[in-house]
Amino acid sequence: MESVKFAVNGTERSLEVEPRTLLVHALRDELRLTGTNIGCDSSSCGACTVLVDGQSAKSCTMFAVQADGADITTIEGVADADGKMHPMQQAFHEHHALQCGYCTPGMVMAAISLVEEYPELDDHSVRHGLEGNLCRCTGYQNIVNAVLAVAGSGSATPIRPYQSGQGE
């Protein structure tokens, strides 16, 4: 077992994990943050996308120990303190950008990171920016529209890594 410490959604967490424990399993099974989903075993679907130090990452492609010292944001951590949904979540709601909702947490996290990184998005760049996140239900058009609405509105509240006090 290895010790790992990271901040998840602003809270310091310490875990004892097997070295091979994937970050996604540490989040889901150890910390019971089950909003992050698993859709594949080949890093293909993006259902597991979280932010690691502000960058979107597929949490099934990282070992938990590799996230030692990192600031991690999951879907549970993007609403504001009063529980008001993040503008990206709200836009997904308003554009009917989800059906079964299984891809949605990963898709929202990827979209938040995309909008932050590239303020000038158009239909083409959103589609390519989200290429690593699969959705079987929506056909993507409403997802693209939701992301564009946030990109265009200036309401993309930046998600900055939470200050964990670590690594500073």
Binding site: E18, R20, T21, H25, R28, D29, R32, L33, T34, G35, T36, N37, I38, G39, C40, D41, S42, S43, S44, C45, A47, T74, I75, E76, A79, M85, Q89, F92, H93, E94, H96, L98, Q99, C100, G101, Y102, C103, T104, P105, V108, D123, V126, R127, H128, L130, E131, G132, N133, L134, C135, R136, C137, T138, G139, Y140, Q141, N142, I143, V144
Partner: protein, 794 residues
Amino acid sequence: MTMTDDPATHMGSHRLRREDPALLTGEAQFIDDMSLHGEIWVGIVRSTEAHATILGVDGRAALEIDGVTEVLSGADLAPLWGEGALPCAWPVTDDMRDPAHLPVATSVAKYVGDAVAVVLADSRYAAADGAAAVSVDYDPLPAVVDIEAAVAEGAPLVHEDLGTNESYTWPLIPDPKAVDAAFAGAAHVVSERYVQQRLIPAPMEPRGVIAAPGVANGELTLYSATQIPHILKVMTAVTLDIPEHKIRVVAPSVGGGFGCKLNVYAEEILCCALAMDRGVPVRWTEGRSEAATATIQGRGQVQHIELAADADGKVQAVRVKLLADMGAYLQLVTPGVPLLGAFLYHGCYDVAHYSFECTSVFTNKTPTDAYRGAGRPEATYAVERAMDSLAVAVGVTPEEIRSRNFIAADAFPYESCAELTFDSGDYQAVLDKAVAMADLESVRAEQAQRRADGSNRQIGVGLSSYVEMCGLAPSRVLASLNYGAGGWEAATVRVLPTAKVQVITGSTPHGQGHETSWSMIVADKLGIDPDDVDVLHSDTAISPTGLDTYGSRSLSVGGTAVFMATDKVLDKARLIAAHQLEANEDDLEYFDGAFQVKGTPTAAVPFAAIAFAAFTAHDLPDGMEPNLEAHVTYDPPNFTFPNGTHIAVVEVDTETGNVDIVDYVAVDDCGNQVNPMIVEGQVHGGVLQGAAQALYEDAVYNEDGQIVTVNLGDYLVPSAAEAPVYRVASHVTPSPTNPMGVKGIGEAGTIAATPAVINAVVDALRPTGVTDVTMPASPQTVWRAINEAQGGAS
């Protein structure tokens, strides 16, 4: 649509979904999010051989792994289910061959992925490690992979004891002589062979099961990522001989199904049997690569279709012969899938004579079963491709050949040559709208220009007009097809003392937004806010009666039950109001959430007052039972027949074979719409799934029966980058079959898109001499088709 006296304000509006917040914030619970105290994990050892005798299972290495507690072979497990085999509920013919299908094979593995042993462990990782460490000794047997090879003389047999690979032959030939005569006298005969490749359904959530025993009372709770908790309860009771009233089945949030979660799976029966035996919760979560062979696949047919037409291209007869791939075993409705298309091979055309025959065969591959559209995409593909061939033969455009053959708008209700009664439609109006939206005139001008220029980026236009049968189904019709259940749906509408409403539905949503739509239906009828209506489902302890969600049946059958139960509530409420107002109930009207005496709006009883009066029961009419609640089980008198025309415009790079969908227009008639936002969403997702069959997806097996497309890196579920932009419209002809005039939309896009896209690809390539492209039309396939047509090497 007149719903009540009350002006309907929510039906027909783009109301946002109440399901969303829990899904958007991660609060929703999918099966793998759950965890029960004391649970043990199951890891499944799956056959690596397509066909082999199992000589032995060696679990010693697995048992050395920390956390692995037991390794069980099929023979070890056999006493848990005795003779109880996995159920097939659709014995389509009396002589259908249905080999016994045990949850874990005991002596012979029949396909790659067939369960051959089970590991029990105390964690997810230990179960996976343990399953990987079990070694199984196989003696390989010859495998049969291809369906045409399976029916050839001397083919290896999947089930030696059956003496044949054929499961059944099912004909529908009302008048054979008339069909022969039509072909003999035809000016044009089109004869085509199409292959429906196998597809992996791939909902983004893989399957998962947790079975929890109630030891003291012999109870069992089964949590499963299923579309069919109600059917699963009955089948689990029957298969494992557990009293049905001791079983509760719960479908938590389910991450898509598309038909593949409409089944009774080995893992469900296995976890239940182990849980009952060991007295602890037993769980299994499917891995994505595991799903490639452990979950049913879709399609898998070779189709021969012939059209006999007169000189004007008016089709007189359709003749179809199918070979359908069942895979190694019959799952829940495997044999019925071709039958769901059997009635629709004449498409939306007025054809006099019909001949359909399907032979279904076993192969050493994963069983097939229902996948979005189930039988109807296959039928539509065949007839819509063949109609384009006919258009070429006659020398008219694809839209003209369709117009010449459509069932006329004034012909409804229409008795089809396959002995169905089509409810309503205006197929020509739908096509006209689609043609106008797609601006075919300009597209064809551009196409002509590029052809003239010899451009290597050719344009193609593909039409697909479809009609499907939905709203499964009148129970008596299902009886005539040997289906093992009815086609009704149940609903309860319960008014609480504070006038809030609970709706209990037997439909089982997994992404379709039933909670939102059902609340809109009830709210409009009662004149209340949809937020005051809760919708409960997917748990047999809460919703004990139902037949679940598949076949685009939820709104037209389940929604109708909700609609009718609300009517019953209103009928009782009216009696209470009449009593309170000392008026005759016929003199009352219900308006804006209150009963009032017609013409005397001052004398009114609001719904809330009636709800409370029904609860206190202090002053109800003599003999009336307290409380305000109604239950309806609705058995539809007929199917519904959604229809539409879709148009795909593609650009094909003739040098690389790459296909891009540059425009996609969908005009659908799903009858009246409760929530057009949800309708559009269903069309978008359905179209992409259909287009994916045309261009990307293929469950590839090699000749040894090994599956090649195991994960989402190999099996190409399209991303946003491949997805086209959809332009969606509707044309409404209300269905006369149900009071809301609704038809169904869940499968329409998938049915329409595949032939539209392939017709477009073929249209683009006609100048090169190409007349057919096999699916999926990958760059290699398209490139090869062009090369072959031009006499080059393939």
